[in-house]
Amino acid sequence: MPHQSALQLVLSGDPALFAIVRLSLHVSLSAVVLAALIGIPLGAWIALTRFPGRQGVIVLLNALMGLPPVVVGLAVYLALSRSGPLGAFGLLFTPGAMIIAQTVLVTPIIAALTRQTVEDLWLEYHDELTAMNLGPIGRVVALIWDARFSLVTALLAGFGRAAAEVGAIIIVGGNIEGFTRTMTTAIALETSKGDLPLAVGLGLVLISIVIAVNALAWSVRRAGERLAG
């Protein structure tokens, strides 16, 4: 990238910059979608089920919200390496590997927040749903649907985590130009090249995107709440 400010890059519609932004969104949003598909049912199941060691599972889940990205990156790296157990898929140094690593990071966040939300709602709905003779699956579906506005916040927390992290994706993605370079790994690279103004500029672009995604989700939530209470 030539020596120019990030603002100039944005204004000039630099295709390389847009490719980086697109990849960042693609990786982080895909990870959030996958993590939601795993974490929401898992969190709801833990909220509604009583089993031995449940308290321990909840503490563990809450603790996993703070998983160090570097450790996750390393674990995923070793698993996806050609010499690792999943090496045959050839996923290391691809966007797929980055999505997997971020899914691992985000799933505990969504699962833990879902558990809390659904458990609170379950206290409120327990009698009504029991009186309607609703089976376990029906309960989970009803609770998840009615917790949907709170779950948006859980998804945003997950997205924030994914969009901000660099430790995991730089290890498993390799920061390959035009292929696995995202906003955060580009910032790390420009910092190491000593191009601090460009790094700061890219950082501002990243923050703007995160704010925009949050604003969008917030307005969807507000509109939905007005319609459905």
């Binding site: 020596h3 990849l23 969104l25 693609h26 949003l29 895909s30 979608v33 390496s81 050609r82 010499s83 690792g84 090496g87 050839g90 290391l92 140094f93 691809t94 966007p95 797929g96 999505i99 949907r148 390799g174 920061n175 390959i176 130009e177 292929f179 696995t180 690279l189 910092t191 190491s192 090249k193 000593g194 191009d195 601090l196 969807v220 939905g224 319609l227 459905a228």
Partner: protein
């Protein structure tokens, strides 16, 4: 179905489309190889200069993962790269001897330079004797930043201390700081703390956050930095794209590739000197 459900479905579908888009993109790039290389070749901009020429000629996409030499060799050892392009001759030869690499080809060299603050607390500016300069730094206890990351530059630095007769593992004091990071990070640290640091010229020339740093020592033969390239052994790792990888190596050492390397300049200054024909390099 109400409005909200529909919107959520649209959003979910859009994400999936997004995801599948990348998969499709993947397939179109099947004629690609993965090269594990060093931060110096990447950060200096050399790859940005030569890879488009290679792609134009062969249609092969070269994906570069820039790591320290030690990590790049390990990436090759695990079979996660097709080609390894690094600068630490002795460990490269060991890599080939252990059967992880097929053959080592010398490609080019650049040189290391000792960078230091303008104030020059060790009084070595302008010297051409790296050994004497290192001795002076130690004697004066001037701050020195070491990469400490087993990269080629780090190994070259350790080697120079040895040549200077200093057992750095034993003799290092508070003036010697190992940061365990890449070249750029080491330069940033040196710039922020007015310390000396050993750098490769390519990274230095393209580095922008110089602050008060200047070149203190250059031109010593012992600062010579040889790059070699190796195909990862397909006998060990069948996933290695041996034909495409060998094509890249052959191009690097061909007259065309060598000229491309020689043509790369920053501010009119040549960064790398091709020497594939020098079989002893």
């Amino acid at each position: 179905m109400n409005m909200l459900t529909r919107r959520l479905l649209i959003a979910a579908t859009a994400s999936l489309v997004f995801a599948s888009g990348a998969v499709a993109q993947d397939k179109s790039q099947e004629r690609s190889i993965l090269v594990a290389s060093t931060t110096s070749t990447q950060d200096s901009g050399l790859f940005g200069h030569i890879l488009p020429m290679f792609k134009a000629k062969t249609g092969i996409d070269v994906k570069v993962v820039a790591q320290g030499t030690g990590q790049a060799l390990d990436t090759g050892r695990r079979g996660d790269a097709d080609v390894v392009f690094v600068h630490a001759k002795s460990v490269e030869e060991k890599f080939v001897a252990e059967g992880f690499g097929v053959k080592r080809y010398p490609v080019m060299y650049n040189d290391f330079i000792l960078i230091g603050p303008k104030s020059d607390p060790a009084g070595i500016k302008g010297s051409k004797d790296i050994v004497a300069a290192l001795g002076a730094i130690k004697a004066k206890g001037a701050d020195f930043i070491s990469r400490g990351d087993k990269s080629g530059t780090h190994q070259a630095e350790l080697n120079l201390w040895k040549v200077a007769g200093i057992d750095i593992a034993k003799d290092k004091g508070t003036w010697y700081k190992e940061i365990g990071q890449g070249m750029g990070a080491a330069l940033n640290t040196a710039s922020a703390s007015d310390a000396y640091v050993l750098a490769d010229r390519g990274t230095w020339l393209s580095f922008r956050n110089c602050g008060d740093l200047v070149i203190a020592v250059e031109g010593d033969k012992r600062l010579f930095n040889q790059y070699g390239v190796m195909l990862v052994n397909p006998d060990k790792h069948p996933s290695v794209k041996k034909d495409l990888g060998q094509q890249f190596i052959d191009w690097l050492v061909s007259s065309e590739g060598q000229k491309a390397i020689a043509d790369y300049k920053i501010n009119g200054e040549q960064l790398f000197y091709p020497n594939a024909s020098d079989s002893g390099a």
